[in-house]
Symmetry: C2
Subunit: 566 residues, 2 copies
């Protein structure tokens, strides 16, 4: 509904979708119109009464609404804002990046997640991707754990869709969609692209073969539980998702007798240029994490909620599967670093592919916007990759690899990456931080954080226009800032803060939410200050640099530290 | 060396590669020149002395040589000739077909087999294919068992090449080449074709994924043994090949716990348009045959030559593999006919491919000679196949399937076959015979038998010219005539003759060699006459129609029979 507020005699006719505003204006006179709208969709909790909401808004009036709006944003920023000191450009870029992510965030519902191209890109039909779990969830966990819960619950709510997809392909358990709709359907088509040479649709396997998404979903649930300690997520469908994802991975797996190991065959990993490969490192690694998460969840429930566990195992008819799935957890093959070079092969046979640089590849392009990936794109038979796959793992789980291995793989894969995905630069930034290369990291970070600000991204693939913003890059930039430079991690023994700042940054400040307690961390060049929120429910230990400090509610501690380049 | 025979005073200068012939000719006088050449290659047994051979030829002179030539051909035709009565065109076509196969035959050596495109096609570099075992061996077994032995021994001689190929791809055992050179190397490249839209090489998987060739090789050895009873082939390297082929198949296989079965994944079957499929029916079926052959061979040796077996098992370090391979033999998945429709799916998911006819497919062609197969040819995402895969099995092993299943699969696959291979029409002919459709079979038979006579075959694939004759179609035509219409088969209880003649054929006559005995079979519309060679070493039983008859050396028996359309 609309209201003409500054022009006596003006009339407003409200139709179903159109306003007609009539007014006689004298010279110099101005007309101010306020439109009060309420925007709902049927999955929203209060969607049945949008009219009343709009009426309430009109009754409150513009000034009141503006005040509420500002106060809501202030409250939001108070919870999530990250400040970078000493580098205004970086500070601005990150804030804009976070702003784009926040405006795409479903704070109010667990029926949707964050759409892959934000609010403005249509190519992905508003669908949700694994980007949510891998690239965005960390920000919500640190500042908005209730929203993180919504995002995780979205996967619980769409479990039946994932089950249906598994069944469609002849598997059991839950095969989460690449392009997830609100009901858990996969809206990805089998012909995602067009061959620009022949005009024919190209059979791609985004939908069929990215089994890592089920592992990512399980990982997301487990991360939520680890950071929040909120066991209700397990009881409230999360454990069921973990079991069904594990069952799907088992159902996909094959056992190689000769090598006494399970393998995951015919998959597409994070690097989408190489489809239908065997034992993709990212996939197998995440699958193992997912299987461990299932195992942990079962142990947890068995100790604390045995009856709920029994009911779940019965309901899912899981008892015969369980020993086999635990066997898979033990014997699932995950490629080890080469003992001499430290290199991890991205998938079976990757190192036998033609070894050229992305620049050489580019010189072979005949048609602008040629798609470089499977089935016959220029990258397919080469070692040129679209985005991090091995380095995504070494960046996310640096503690699982020696510094030498992290660095060897960064140095090998980074020059062979074409960055054909907006998910790429943030991960190379994070990876570079974890290799102790903060200047390289900074360059990649700025690329990621300014992606939507500058609009410097790929707009076409073949003849397909891909618009929209890049929530994964937005969330990824946060990860680089906080989990990378800011040095925040959750290890087995608790929260660690081990910053590695770029030369020109004097400090970084960010919120931390952990097991229901809130903190604010400031990491400078030579000291770390942690402040516990006054309303924290209990004291908590944090590892600041090398020191472990106990923080009572409201307490602030500062430790000096020696920056460690790992 | 050359000899001018009819012109006194003419001189012949013989250079290393050139003859210079000088003569003064009067008007009306003619000059006759005889060139005596001997053709050897270094793999031939007597290659060291080609000069002396040529001298011997000169000394014998033209007339004597011509006489020897004619007598050699007569002797050859006496052993192999098949006569078709009542249909001169068919008789001529088959004889020409056999002639082409015979002139490409290495009678004298086991160091080469029959090249895939005969003596005149260069595209396959003179290489040998699985065509030898599957399409040609039957003719040699029936008429020239010693030559059959050469062909089988060729695989023994190239075992090391097959072992090297297995190792190259990370497997154990023997992975026989798609395009086999004399040393057992695979001369097939990874980029067998060019994309005519982009001019770029196309990555194809003829070389990497046609694992059925090792099964075919094993099958060939076993067929040789079954028809000849010549156990020396086992002792003379054949058993070793059987073991190594079985080991390779085991090494390729994966176990699917959920289904308690082994599977063969990521293979290309007989239908080359669909590369990299799972559980290709032809492949899995032949693999099971190969594993059974290994098992039979081990039992045979264990009973008759235990020491040779022990030595072999030790030398190949086979004792730990054996139980696992026998497990594979039992639990290897081979798709069963659908209980309702009788249909067998060519590979996992084939029936989900787009179901169009080859004619509809052809209408989608943009460029002449477009390659229709993998990776992105028009046939790949459809059910249109290049050549028989399921029907190759039902045609070769009709006794393993009910008449309903044979016919259901013929009727399903035949209209969906594009016949892009010269190996196709003969198998659909054979398949039609085994479905009791002799008129359809006749049409396909004539297509196969006249292929080289009429030259009505595909000459280009993309921009690649494929010339040469078609030994597989030649041998395949023989198979249709003798094993199809002539009704010859070797069952568990011995040789059967159960003819099904096309309407216009009055009879067919063919040689039969079995366990060292020779026979001539005449099958007419209402009677079968079998004649045992006078020099047969012992009496033998043959099933003629429904009757089992004992034939002493030199004996001839005739039985009346009622033609059975199965």
């Amino acid at each position: 509904m609309a209201q003409a507020v500054s022009c006596p005699g003006a009339t407003v006719e409200t139709g179903s979708k159109v306003f007609r505003i009539s007014a006689q204006l004298e010279a110099g006179q101005s007309l101010e119109v306020c439109v009060f709208a309420s925007l709902y969709k049927e999955t929203d909790p209060d969607w049945a009464d949008p009219i009343r909401e709009a009426e309430n808004a009109r009754n409150a009036g513009f000034d009141r609404l503006l005040q509420e709006h500002r106060s809501a944003w202030k409250k939001l920023w108070d919870q999530v804002l990250v400040r970078i000191y000493g580098d205004e450009a970086a500070d601005l870029a990150l804030r804009y990046s976070m702003y784009l992510l926040l405006i795409s965030t479903p704070f109010h519902t667990d029926k949707v997640a964050v759409p892959g191209r934000g609010l403005s890109g249509q190519v992905y039909k508003g669908a949700m991707f694994w980007d949510t779990e891998l690239y965005m969830l960390p920000m919500y966990l640190a500042g908005l754990p209730q929203t993180a819960r919504n995002l995780v619950r979205y996967r619980v709510n769409t479990l039946d869709g994932a089950r249906a997809k598994a069944q469609e392909y002849g598997y059991r358990g839950a095969f989460y969609p690449w392009e997830s709709q609100e009901d858990g359907r996969d809206s990805c088509t089998e012909y995602n692209l067009t061959d620009i040479f022949t005009g024919r649709p190209l059979r791609t396997y985004f939908r069929d073969k990215q089994i890592h998404i089920s592992a990512d979903v399980a990982y997301g649930i487990w991360e939520y539980f680890r950071w929040t300690g909120d066991e209700s997520i397990l009881l409230d469908g999360g454990a069921e998702v973990l079991l069904e994802c594990a069952r799907f991975l088992y159902s996909w797996s094959y056992f190689k007798n000769e090598k006494n190991r399970y393998e995951l065959l015919d998959v597409t990993g994070a690097d989408e240029y190489h489809e239908r490969v065997n034992n993709d490192f990212y996939t197998n690694y995440m699958a193992k994490k997912a299987l461990q998460a299932m195992d942990f969840a079962i142990s947890w429930l068995s100790e604390r909620h045995p009856q709920a566990l029994e009911e779940l195992l019965d309901r899912l008819d899981f008892r015969t599967d369980l020993p086999a799935i635990l066997d898979l957890k033990e014997k699932l093959y995950v490629a080890a670093p080469d003992p001499d070079t430290g290199l991890i092969e991205q998938y079976d046979g990757h190192f036998r592919m033609e070894d050229i640089t992305p620049e050489e590849l580019t010189r072979r392009i005949i048609m602008p916007n040629e798609y470089l990936g499977s089935p016959v794109g220029l990258a397919v038979q080469t070692q040129v990759i679209k985005q991090a796959d091995v380095c995504l793992i070494t960046a996310l789980f640096p503690g699982d690899f020696s510094p030498q291995v992290r660095r060897a793989n960064y140095q090998y894969y980074e020059p062979r990456t074409e960055h054909g995905s907006s998910l790429s630069s943030c991960i190379y930034a994070l990876s570079a931080v974890k290799c102790g290369l903060p200047q390289l990291a900074k360059a990649y970070f700025m690329q990621a954080a300014t992606l939507d600000l500058k609009g410097a991204y790929k707009r076409f693939v073949g003849d397909l226009y891909i618009g929209g913003t890049h929530p994964a890059a937005n969330g990824g930039s946060w990860m680089v800032a906080v989990r990378g430079f800011g040095g925040l991690s959750l290890e087995q023994d608790g929260i660690h803060v081990q910053p590695i700042l770029p030369e020109d940054w004097t400090g970084i400040e960010y919120p931390l939410s952990y097991l229901g307690n809130r903190f604010r961390i400031y990491a400078g060049k030579d000291h770390i200050t942690a402040t516990a929120a006054p309303d924290n429910c209990r004291a908590a230990s944090l590892f600041l640099g090398e020191e472990c400090r106990q923080l009572s509610p409201g307490e602030q501690v500062t430790v000096r530290y020696q920056e460690v380049l790992s």
